[in-house]
């Protein structure tokens, strides 16, 4: 792993939601590292806690019913979880920006696009009036929107999904943040538009030397766009590694199952491999390893049923949380 420099480090993050039906541990001891100018993909299925993790970085968890219950998020030497709200506001949109899945609802329908970008610019930079507007137009041009001067005067409903997503990216990048968090940015888009947007993000990353935290459930998108990958399952990290390693040799049975169950283009028509069962209900997590009921190895193994394996670095820069991951036993004995 190249030492680009650790930009943002999440350590032992815990987020709890208090619902009518009980307490839900949405994120339970998650640790992630985001390197400078690299893309970290956080992969998982619905309900695993990846979006909550992302929102926690910017402290956007609605409180109530949610609460960040523990851990640290170190960014440029400071623990974000301990900053005052006014300091966080300085960081949001400025140093760390976020784009969301649904471009339809993430833009305010009653303001023009130009106005919305200018709002961010005015807030964080010392630009006002004409120069701010020019900067906004420049951002629109940067994200590949043709005729930006006209577009800036249009409203969100006049644009297609792909365009709106570009505008969101423009807004997010207008203050040249060091980290961009992209929460399923292309899930709601057509595949050809998805390709455009992912290419755009890559280009902007190169240009600004920006780090991207990409949250998605699509492993293929991860393969083509990420440098490092963390796989989440049921509020915990199951596996972390560089992208080539994870695809070449996944260590955790969940990752293995996911990769095997993907229909491949050009593959023969065979029965797809399957991970039996479904994602556990966060109110009733299984004991021991949360994946064990669905695991080909773990469902019959008493240790997997009772004791939860922690995330250990079984090889240089390869982390796994599975008793049977190669190198795991040795790592435990080392301790």
């Amino acid at each position: 792993m190249s030492e680009n420099g650790l930009l943002l480090a999440i350590k032992n993050l815990r987020v709890v939601f208090y619902t009518e039906a009980g307490q839900v541990r949405a994120v339970d001891g998650v640790g992630l590292d985001i390197q400078q100018a690299r893309t970290l993909a956080l992969v998982g299925e619905s309900g695993c806690g990846k979006s909550v993790t992302a929102l926690s970085i910017l402290r956007l968890i609605p409180d109530p019913p949610g609460r960040i219950a523990g851990g640290e998020i170190i960014f440029k030497g400071r623990n974000l979880l301990q900053l005052a709200e006014s300091q966080m506001r300085n960081i949001r949109g400025n140093d760390i920006a976020m784009i969301f899945q649904e471009p339809m609802t993430s833009l305010n329908p009653i303001y023009t696009l130009g106005e919305q970008i200018v709002e961010v610019i005015k807030l964080h930079q010392r630009l006002k009036g004409r120069p701010a507007w020019e900067h906004a137009i420049e951002m629109l041009r940067l994200v590949g929107i043709a005729e930006p001067e006209q577009r800036a005067r249009q409203y969100p409903h006049q644009m297609s999904g792909g365009m709106r997503q570009r505008v969101m990216i423009a807004m997010a990048l207008s203050c040249s943040p060091a980290v961009l968090i992209a929460d399923e940015p292309t899930t709601a888009l057509d595949v050809t538009i998805q390709a455009q947007i992912m290419d755009l993000l890559k280009e902007l990353q190169q240009r600004n030397q920006m780090s991207i935290m990409l949250i998605t459930h699509d492993l293929a998108v991860v393969a083509e766009n990420a440098d490092d990958v963390a796989v989440m399952y049921a509020s915990k990290i199951a596996e972390k590694a560089a992208v080539r390693d994870i695809f070449a040799e996944p260590l955790h049975p969940y990752t293995q199952g996911l990769l095997r169950s993907l229909p491949r283009l050009g593959g023969k028509r065979r029965r797809l491999e399957v991970i039996p069962g479904s994602v556990p209900d966060p109110l009733h997590f299984p004991t021991g390893c949360k994946f064990h009921p669905r695991c080909p190895i773990g469902h019959a193994d008493p240790r997997c049923q009772q004791v939860e394996p922690g995330l250990l670095e079984v090889q240089p820069n390869r982390w796994a949380a599975c008793w049977y991951a190669p190198g795991y036993e040795d790592k435990i004995n080392e301790k």
């Binding site: 399957v274 039996p276 069962g277 479904s278 209900d281 009733h284």
Partner: protein, 354 residues
Amino acid sequence: MTERLQKAKKPRHSENYWLNVWSRVRRNRRGFTGLCFVGFMLLVALFSPLLATNQPIVCKYQGKWYFPAVVELFQSRGTGPHWINKSPPFNLPQFDAKHQLDPQAFAIWPLIPYSEYEQTANFLSPPNRWHWLGTDELGRDLAARMIHGTVVSVKVGFVSMGIAALIGIAVGALAGYWGGWVDIIISRIIEIVICFPVFFLILAIMVWLEPNIINVMIVIGLTRWTSIARYARGEFIRIKGQDYVIAARALGIGHLRIMFRHILPNSLAPVMVSITFGIASAILLEAGLSWLGFGVQPPSPSWGNILRTAYDSLGVAAYMVYPPCVAIFLAVLSYNLVGDALRDAIDPRLRKAA
């Protein structure tokens, strides 16, 4: 199928949507209080002949057992076999049980041992030991009249809104489901009816009709259906486009069944809220009509006309104003609270779960 079957998880109590709503309403304190008062009113109305009448509930007279008030309960509710009649001498109107019964004989009297029509000698007397709320200008016990007035309010509330609901849901369903010309015409009709100032329309109609409780209920019902119709229409339009309705059509299920079995149960939530608020306003409307003299006529008691008498005798009998005012206020307030709680309980959190 070689995959393992989805095993049944911990057997969770299968939750009906309305049970869910009910538990949410219960948890809302204001709503629950309102609901308690509504329940209280319903009980008072239901058992009014046992609570306020001039004959005992059970007594022993000249060696035999009699249950005059209980019989009266059945007779007034219209239920029970017709051959249950009050045995003599209790069935004679001039038989005054209070005086005729042997003081030594066993008798259980109702809470208020006066009937709502019974006139006594101490008229316009303020609350005292015998008449807990006082008496009116004809010596009738105020508490008894208030209790029997509850019946009017409850009846008017539910029956008139029942009529309104039937009309409103039917109209709204047709407009929402069929769309097109049917919708255009019905919507214009709804808009026209809404434009009428309801209270004055009702007054105008009551001038023509004989003022009694049945006509009041019908008239209120016939004028209050519009907001229900609008909600129903909106819900039908929304639900009509849902996948499960399209699935039903694809399965060859007929229109009527789709409307009643699929769309209607899912559309009731906002309609229920509207009905609850409608009951509150119906009670208020009836009180107003009776106060003006167009509703329930004396000697039949209604909170409205009790208030009228109080108003007329304000100088001498100020104590009479309070009971009906408080009763009307509490009734309307509690229905509104229930409506509020219901509205909170159905939207939109439950939309996600359901």
